[in-house]
Symmetry: C2
Subunit: 130 residues, 2 copies
Amino acid sequence: MKNTSYTISELATEYEITPRTIRLYEEQGILSPQREGRRRIYSERDRVRLRLTMRVRRLGMSLAEARELIDMYSNPQDEEHQLHTLLERLQAHRDRLLAQHRDIELTLTEIGRVHEQAQQALSRLRQERG
Amino acid sequence: MKNTSYTISELATEYEITPRTIRLYEEQGILSPQREGRRRIYSERDRVRLRLTMRVRRLGMSLAEARELIDMYSNPQDEEHQLHTLLERLQAHRDRLLAQHRDIELTLTEIGRVHEQAQQALSRLRQERG
DNA sequence: ATTTACGCTTACGTTAACATCAGTTATTTT
DNA sequence: AAAATAACTGATGTTAACGTAAGCGTAAAT
């Protein structure tokens, strides 16, 4: 059984963020560590949710969006209506990610173009100097 | 010849942003429209730079990063040292974009998993209700 | 000739996502 | 026992990226 638990500074070190940030994520409802007195004890689940949060934050999502998405990962709905809106929200996130995917490819193409030009300019310089 | 020019509100409408935002981008050195009296006149080049800015902003880049990257697109360097740092910066941007690319794929995989589960739960509900 | 529309500058307001600090408690380490 | 270490709760500060509003100029439409 994974019965591992973590302190706030362990997680902070692992993900290279400050404890302040981790507490903020709790305020935002993303994490919900247990307490041992006043101290926070983070479970493996908390750690996973933190990792997922960092991942989508790198993609420019807000904390609110991050929370929504991550909550959907583990939210077993029972009503048909709820399942429907879940599917819709998932599709919305997917659409956005696909758009970003395209944006990345376009940007990489541009970078590749400039990179090549720079390489050529560099070899020309070395030729002349030769 | 593309001698087209645009007013601020034309660009604002096209890219669904406010004039305020466009003026801000000028302050940040991303755009540099000509003036006709006090009025700003945007060239095709400005428009392209605005489009590129919007693109990388969707990827979560800051305006400073956007400016740096977009400036590199059109900056013909002449010194070897400058070409080297240009190549380095390009590679840094590329690395970051590739990391984002992976993050997107991971997130899409998760979403796909949840999406399937939800679909299945939905068909089960409909089966029962029959 | 005067509304109306568009644009300008200047300045203050706002929100998100933290950082920083002060003061306190609790727990190790020496 | 004393001191260092880690964590806690407020509270205030900071930065980026805008939004909003006031007051003014200019040009086009009625």
